[in-house]
């Protein structure tokens, strides 16, 4: 039996693991990290950011001890303020040795539209760049609640447009571009794919949607059931939409892509879905909506997993499998 973690009372947000972990049939390796999982108090943005920043600082100290992947160049860049938008920092990952022009992926980090920086998904982006042999561009999009919809959505679409315009200078074949993201980043990728279709933007090779936030209606069985799952639960899900949603001139489905009136003509999709995640059913429904609209879908549902498991426990076999699925899918989509 797992022991409750004593002595953490004076640090109220450093521990979430108080149950015995047996209420769900977790994958064993994913269960093993739960006693070390830091609970993000999503109902308190300032505290949530403090806790996440603390953890990330420790993580960056750990990364600094590791050798950098010599096969990938990592550069920071800023898209200067334009009409109605602020400076937009971006991070560009480029394979160090390349002979021809490459495909590219625009990748959006997660964090419920409220948290997260370019550092969150740096390891994943480096992995993609090295294994897929593609350029990866990731924007430090603006966060809610200070900047609700459509700030992040605009920043993400802007990054895609910038890459389409400037890609040739980076050695990118702008005919081979994918969008992708994890969690809220996955929701942003799905919205960006819709807008690219609607505005006759770039013809996307793939939308890579990892455990995406897609539906603000909160009416699925998985959302009702998973009220105490690690990393993401129905409570954080509800709080997220309250932070993010706002009136705008855009159609509502650009904020919550499941609300779209039509799924016709969208980019082919790769969906990764975690079984024990309130977001599970909206991803399955989205996949079905795409298929019904004749959009090609590759979907993986990983049994025994919780939200963003490959982010929190990349060493686990099932995470390695999920990451390999992502690399395979991107490789196939971005092939010349």
């Amino acid at each position: 039996m797992a022991a409750e973690v004593e002595g953490a009372a004076h640090k109220p947000h450093t521990s979430t693991f108080t149950g015995n972990g047996l209420q769900y049939n977790y994958d064993a390796e994913l269960a093993a990290v739960l006693p070390f999982n830091v609970k993000i108090p999503f109902d308190n943005v300032a505290e949530a950011r403090r806790v996440e920043a603390e953890g990330m600082a420790e993580q960056l100290r750990a990364r600094a001890e590791l050798p950098k992947d010599p096969n990938v160049l990592v550069q920071d860049h800023v898209l200067p303020a334009a009409a109605g938008s602020a400076d937009l920092p971006i991070r560009i990952y480029t394979p160090a040795r390349r002979t021809t022009s490459l495909g590219a992926l625009v990748f959006f980090h997660g964090g419920g539209y409220v948290l997260g920086t370019l550092d969150n998904e740096e390891l994943r982006c480096v992995h993609y760049a090295a294994r897929v042999n593609c350029v990866v561009v990731s924007p430090d999009y603006r966060l809610a609640p200070e900047h609700p919809f459509p700030a992040a959505f605009d920043d993400c679409y802007r990054t895609l447009c910038w890459l389409t315009g400037e890609g040739a200078h980076l050695g990118v074949d702008v005919g081979r571009i994918a969008v992708g993201g994890i969690s809220s980043g996955g929701g942003l990728a799905a919205s960006v794919a819709q807008r690219a279709r609607d505005e006759h933007g770039p013809d996307l090779a793939l939308q890579l949607l990892l455990y995406p936030t897609l539906d603000s209606r909160l009416r699925t069985v998985s959302n009702a059931r998973f009220t105490d799952t690690p990393l993401w639960d129905a409570h954080s899900n509800r709080a997220m939409w309250e932070y993010y949603l706002a009136e705008s001139d855009y159609p509502a489905w650009y904020a919550a892509p499941a609300l779209a009136e039509s799924f016709e003509g969208l980019a082919p999709a790769m969906l990764a879905v975690a079984e024990l995640d309130p977001l599970r059913d909206e991803a399955l429904e989205y996949a079905l909506a795409l298929l019904k609209a004749n959009v090609s879908v590759e979907m993986h549902l990983y049994a025994g997993t919780y939200h963003a498991f490959d982010y929190i426990a990349p060493f686990a076999q099932i995470s390695q499998r999920a990451l390999a699925d992502q690399v395979n899918s991107l490789t196939k989509a971005l092939r010349s």
Partner: protein, 366 residues
């Protein structure tokens, strides 16, 4: 790992870290981890290389902190090791660049405790870690050297190390108790770093071990014959020797023999065991001993004869049996007349001793 997980090295209070470590390995066991999951989780949480080695079950796995297998087949000398406490000789380790961290010992210890449960769950009890069929094949004369070599490897035996076969016979009613005591003997031998594999073959328990000696204090109701030391590929010869030696441990009324007999200690007596049992039973001298025994349910005449043959004189026999030497002389005279030859001469004593041994060898094992 990343910002949503506490780093083990980043937890200030050792007690708090220990509680989390214990909980993590409890989770692995509760969620039915296999050995790969155990080692990956240890490596991931400890942020260093972790490994497990179980020579008996043929498990060797080493992974780095990113969960990927390390091809090396050696346990680095700088590792923090912990023994898996199931008598299997298995061990787990953490290996950290720059030397052990302050919590490595407790991580390795909890990992070893989880490993004992996981190995047992996957492979079965340490005493029966392997398919008994593999042991039977290794002991069989009917298989090719190639197959025998494969079985030997499967069972953890290498050509570099000689082995002995041991034949165990359980006598008496409580066989399940005896089976457990054999398992504990196996664990005892493994704990000293030797390999021992045990399987039931017919009425016997067969063991192959790298141990040079079997502890002579066998559990009650167990008798054992120990085969000669051989290369693993010659296991059938050692097994034949073990079964032969086992026949010399048979006890009969008045004839007590030690429960453990090594074939190598039998010397030329081994030749006596080469005769078919039917031929032994048909021999006049064996039948004569049989007749004496049939009229001697307490075994006192057989016991006197055996003692006399070994001691070589009435006086020494009397001292051994706490009898007056005239009483011994009377019994020997009686036995001599029953056998049809004078036992109290050197040749007669020798003949009677051979006859007693052949009589013992003519018995069923239990």
């Amino acid at each position: 790992m990343h910002g949503l997980l506490l780093r083990l090295s980043g937890i200030d209070a050792e007690a708090e870290a220990a509680v989390r470590v214990i909980a993590a390995f409890d989770q692995l066991v509760a969620h039915r981890a296999d050995t790969g999951a155990l080692v990956r989780a240890a490596a991931g949480l400890a942020e260093c290389t972790a490994g497990i080695h179980d020579p008996l079950r043929g498990v060797f796995l080493s992974v780095s902190s990113d969960g990927r297998s390390v091809p090396s087949r050696v346990i680095p000398a700088t590792s923090t090791l912990a023994k898996v406490d199931d008598g299997s000789g298995a061990e787990v380790w953490l290996d950290r660049v720059g030397g052990p961290g302050p919590l490595d010992a407790i991580v390795a210890e909890r990992m070893a405790a989880a490993a004992a449960i996981i190995l047992d769950r996957i492979f079965g009890s340490a005493s029966y870690a392997i398919d008994p069929g593999a042991l039977e094949l290794l002991l069989s004369e009917q298989v090719s050297d190639v197959d025998r070599a494969r079985c030997a490897r499967l069972l953890g035996f290498s050509e570099a190390r000689t082995i002995r076969a041991v034949a165990f016979l359980c006598v008496g009613p409580q066989r399940d108790v005896i089976t457990r005591s054999l398992e504990s003997l196996t664990s005892q031998i493994r704990a000293s770093g030797d390999i021992m594999q045990l399987a039931k073959i017919g009425d016997l328990f067969a063991a192959i071990t790298t141990a040079d000696q079997i502890p002579p204090e066998l559990p009650a109701q167990i008798r054992a014959g120990v085969g000669q030391k051989v290369d693993p590929l010659k296991a059938p010869a050692s097994w034949a020797g073990a079964r032969t030696a086992l026949r010399f441990t048979v006890n009969l009324p008045g004839l007590k023999r030690p429960p453990l007999q090594s074939v190598e200690d039998l010397g030329p007596l081994i030749a006596l065991a080469n005769h078919p049992i039917d031929e032994l039973r048909a021999m006049d001298d064996v039948q004569a001993i049989n007749n004496v025994a049939a009229n001697d349910p307490s075994g006192e005449h057989i016991h006197t004869l055996d003692a006399f043959c070994r001691a070589g004189s009435l006086r020494r026999t009397a001292a051994e049996l706490y009898l007056h030497h005239t009483s011994v002389a009377a019994r020997i005279a009686h036995i001599s007349s029953a056998l049809g030859y004078a036992v109290d001469t050197p040749d007669g004593a020798f003949r009677a001793r051979i006859a007693l041994t052949l009589w013992q060898l003519s018995q069923d094992l239990d």
